[in-house]
Each structure stands twice: as structure tokens, then as C-alpha cells.
Amino acid sequence: MRANAITRRRRRELIGGGVLLILLALLPLPIANVYLRGLIVLTLLYAGLSQGWNILGGYCGQISLGHALYFGIGAYASAILFTRYGVPPTLGIFAGGALGALAALLVGWPCFRLSGHYYAIATLVVGMMVLLLVQNWGFVNAAMGITIPFRMQSWEDLEFRVAVLPFHYVMLAYAAIVWLIAWVVEGSRWGFIWRAVKDDVAAAESLAVRVFPSKMAAAAISGGITAVGGGLYAQYIGFIDPDSGLGLSLSVLIALPAVVGGVGTLWGPLLGAAVLIPVQQLSVAWLGGAGNGVDLMIYGALIMALALARPQGLVSLFGIRSQAGGEAVDRA
């Protein structure tokens, strides 16, 4: 079969991904500043989280404002399994991932029949509802959260409290694997079906596309990925509570890199995370100080500016065609 534009592009993407992986693996070595290393770790985490969100929100077109739910499920599951039942996080995060996928299916099942804004609000409400319930649930320590005690340095337990560097590679692996999942899915039957449904549901159905199962598949993958990220985060920070694991601001922060970078694209979430997370973290650190709000103003203004100036995402600056509304670069 002759190579055509699709296969050529896919090959380029894979090579690009590989190069980026190597660069990112080498990145922290010359950087001694612990804070900066931590910043990169967070950026990588959000790159993965947002890429996971992107599968449901970008490719499948279902804008979820409640993804913190899956993050929280993963974080809590991993933390509880580790602190109470001695299950090492290297297993626990996958248990969390499975639970996250299941939760996404449960949420999607009734919610996918809702259109556009109704769906967004429904996910928001479900997220808030779970937040409230968890804040009052003794089993998960309610509002006080769960602390993961540091016993000893170990890869199996994903415990490296002294050095940040190992976590860099853990998060890099996460982001890389998620990217690879997105790459595979984008070129798979699901990827084509999602894009078709987003463009024209009636035409898709006339080609025997079953819309609902395809959305459920997207939900499960997305929820699972987000939950695994939550589990990793819990180990990294050593603490999880309703506010840090289930809040609306977290849901928004998970979605934003994809939105800002370019929904429905492979590189969008990475680019968006690389821009957004450092800005947000640094403005909190330098300006947020005593809660004076300037960091929020900058963050909010940045979101507005980017959403308006580059609705097709930052990837369009590099000539990458957005899957959503694909005429982006040609007509711009």
C-alpha cells in the first residue's frame, strides 16, 4: 500500500514524539533548582491529564467540566490502598485507573444524551456532588484528607521524598504513555468515528456508526488515564483531600491545556501545559503571596486572551491542523 499523507504524518508524529521524549528525559539533568524541577514534574503531569481529557473533550467533542472526579478517584483509591491495605502504588494506580474508567462510564451513560452545554453543566454538577459527599464521608477521612506517610525510598512504592528526579521520570513516563495512547487511538477506528460524529451525526449514522458506544469508549479511556494521573499525584505530594483532588478549579486546570493548546490535536495538550502550568504556578509563587488575587487575575486574563486570540489552539502557530474545525490553518 502506497504511503499517503496519513501514514506519512503518523510516522512524523511518532518520530517527533520520540525526539521530544529524549529531550525531556535529559532536561532536568542540568537543572539543579528543586523548585524548577518540581515545576517540570507538574507540567508533565498536567500534560498527561489534559491529553486524557482531550480524548473525550477534544476528539469526541464532549466538554467535561468534571474531570477532577476521576482524578480524585484515582488519588484516593491509590492512597487508601497503600495506607490501609499495604498495596504498593505501582499496582494501586492501576486499580484507581480501572475505577476511574468505570466512573466515567457511569457518568457518561446518562449524560451523553445531553447536548453541548447541558452536558458540560451535568459533568460540573456530578463533580461538585461527589466533592460534597466526600467532604462528609468518614471512610475517606472527609475534609481532612489522607496523608501518605513516607517510610523509605523505593521505586515499588513510588516513594522518593528526598529527590525530585525520580518523579520526573515517573511523570515523564506517564505523559509519554498517555501521548502514545492518544496517538494510537487517533489513528484507530475510534478516532475516525469520533471525528465523524463531531462533524455530522446523521451522516455518521448513515455509515453505520453507533454513536453512544463510541462515546462510552472515549469516556472509559479518558477517565482511566485521568485516574492514573491522580494516583501518581497522590504519591508525589503525599497528601490528598477533597479540595486538592476533586475541586472545580482542578477540573478546569485539567481541561485548559488542551483547550489552549488545541483541542482534538496530539500536541495541543503538551503545548498548552507547557505554557499554562508554569505561568499559573509561577504567578501563584511570585504574586499570589498573601492571597492578593493578582495571580488569579493573570491566570484569568491569560485564559481569556488565549481562548479569543487562538480559538483553534496554540498548535495552529505551528501549522498543525486542528481536528476540530479543521479548516483552521488553510482559511486563517
Binding site: S115, M128, L248, L296, A307, A324
Partner: protein, 291 residues
């Protein structure tokens, strides 16, 4: 638990419900008009509450008397937001739905930050005035005057909203919603209609905010809680339906109050969300939704 307490709680819920209804009506109006869900709606409420506070502190005006002032102020802010931000968001060629979700989200974050900068994160309140610290008693039932007044004012504002919808302007609003492109042909300036729509939507929230300021704590994040209830109320009642906003608002107020009484005060919102989920399963467009 006596009958009197139950009645008191129900009435309290009803009154809060009217406030929710008004906030939801503003949101529903804007959405119905141009398919824009304003995720900064709660922050508009917060601005109104701070405005009431500031005017009260500096000019000594009682919140009740401030109503026209703050309503006009919020009207102006609504128009400004439309012209400065939303008009641009609507002009975007791709991902319009998503862009306006996140543009208004960005705005809400920005406004919270601005309020924090201007007023600090501490809670404020208006502790004196015509309505403060007074109650109405009917037999064993005691209700704070401020809350009763809030409910009544919001009901009146709601009626005014309905009246506006019956005027020629209201019809222009409806026409613009039905067919955005065609209305230009009959001489309706779409931009102007949208601006005024946003103005009215913000003004209604302004009225609710002023009344709330009489008995609610004011802080930069106070808007987010009400906003959530507003989204739920609008979705429950059906986007674009004023009647839906009213019915859903009252329903939400009642459910919240009863859940707090019968289950647990800290879980009162779970009751709302549960009703929301149940209704949406049966009717995805909400109780009276047309869009």
C-alpha cells in the same frame, strides 16, 4: 420537629428559591439569546454584593434603596462584558461553543482575583440597615425580614422580566434568538439586542445580589456557590424558559431547605444535585426546556 419549624423551613426555602429563580432567569436569558452559558454569572452576583457593600459603607445608602443604582451599574457591566469579550467570542470561527465556555471561565477567575485584590479575602457583611436584624413573626413562625424582602423583591423583578419579554423589545429578543441571521433583514440590530440582553441578564443578578448582601456574607468566592445553583436551576428548568427558571428555582430552594432539615445541613446541596440528576434523566431538556 414541630409543624411550625417545618413551615418555617419551607417558607425560608421558598424565599431563597425566588432569589435563585431570579439569578437563574438572568443566566437563562443570556443563554436563550445567544447560546452562551455565562460561567462568570456567579461573579456578577459577587460584584453586585460588593457594590452594595461599598455604596453602603461610603454613601450610607441602605441596600433596599440602592436597587436602582446597582441594577444600572450591573447593566452597564453586562453590556461592557458583551461588547468587550463575548462579541469577540461569538465571532470566532471554530469551536465557538468551547471558546465561550472558557472565555467566561477565564473572566470568572479574573473577577475573583480582582475582588481579592480590591477587598481582600476576608468576609464582609452589611450589618445595619432597614432590613438587618429584624424578623417577621407569624404565630410561631419567625423569618428574617431581610430574607422575606429578598424573596419578594426577586419575585417582583421576575415579574418585570416577564413584562419586558412581552414588550416589543422582548419580541425582538425572541426573534433574535430564533434566527440570528434573519433579524438583520427586518431592521433589528443584533449587536444592540445582544448588548441589552446581557445588560438585563446582569441587572437581574445585580438585584439579587443587592438583596443577598443584606443577610449573606460577602467574599470573593461567594459567587461560585450561587453560580453552581444557578446552572443547576437553569438546566433543571430548561435553558431559555423563564417559567422554567421560576419553577426550578423554587423547587431548588425547597429541596435545599428540606434536605438541610431532614438530612444534614452540610449535605443540603446534594439534595439539589440529586433532583437535578433525576429530572435530567427523565427530561434531558429540563422541565420546560425548548432549546
Amino acid at each position: 420537629m414541630t409543624a411550625a419549624i417545618v413551615v418555617q423551613v419551607v417558607l425560608g426555602g421558598l424565599l431563597m428559591g425566588l432569589v435563585y429563580a431570579l439569578v437563574a432567569a438572568g443566566l437563562s436569558l443570556i443563554f436563550g439569546l445567544m447560546d452562551v452559558v455565562n460561567f462568570a454569572h456567579g461573579e456578577l452576583l459577587m460584584l453586585a454584593m460588593y457594590a452594595a457593600f461599598v455604596i453602603h459603607e461610603n454613601l450610607g445608602l441602605d441596600p433596599l434603596l440602592q436597587l436602582p443604582l446597582v441594577a444600572v451599574l450591573l447593566f452597564g457591566i453586562g453590556v461592557a462584558i458583551y461588547r468587550g469579550l463575548i462579541a469577540r467570542a461569538l465571532g470566532v470561527r471554530f469551536n465557538t461553543g468551547m471558546v465561550q465556555i472558557f472565555v467566561t471561565f477565564g473572566l470568572s477567575i479574573f473577577l475573583v482575583g480582582a475582588a481579592q485584590l480590591a477587598f481582600g479575602a476576608d468576609f464582609r457583611s452589611i450589618s445595619d440597615g432597614l432590613l438587618a436584624n429584624r424578623t417577621i413573626a407569624m404565630g410561631e413562625i419567625v423569618l428574617p425580614l431581610a430574607q422575606v424582602a429578598a424573596g419578594l423583591v426577586c419575585l417582583l423583578a421576575f415579574a418585570a422580566l416577564v413584562a419586558i419579554s412581552r414588550t416589543e423589545f422582548g419580541r425582538a429578543l425572541e426573534a433574535t434568538r430564533e434566527d440570528r441571521d434573519a433579524v438583520a433583514l427586518i431592521g433589528i440590530d443584533r449587536d444592540k439586542v445582544f448588548s441589552i440582553g446581557w445588560g438585563i441578564g446582569a441587572a437581574t443578578v445585580g438585584i439579587a445580589g443587592v438583596m443577598l448582601a443584606s443577610f449573606y456574607y460577602i467574599s470573593p468566592t461567594v459567587g461560585s456557590n450561587f453560580a453552581l445553583i444557578a446552572y443547576v436551576t437553569v438546566a433543571l428548568g430548561g435553558f431559555g424558559s423563564l417559567l422554567g427558571a421560576l419553577v426550578a428555582g423554587i423547587l431548588v430552594g425547597l429541596v435545599e431547605a428540606l434536605t438541610a432539615l431532614l438530612v444534614d445541613p452540610s449535605l443540603k446541596q446534594v439534595g439539589i444535585f440529586a433532583i437535578y440528576v433525576l429530572v435530567l434523566m427523565a427530561r434531558p431538556r429540563g422541565l420546560f426546556g425548548r432549546l
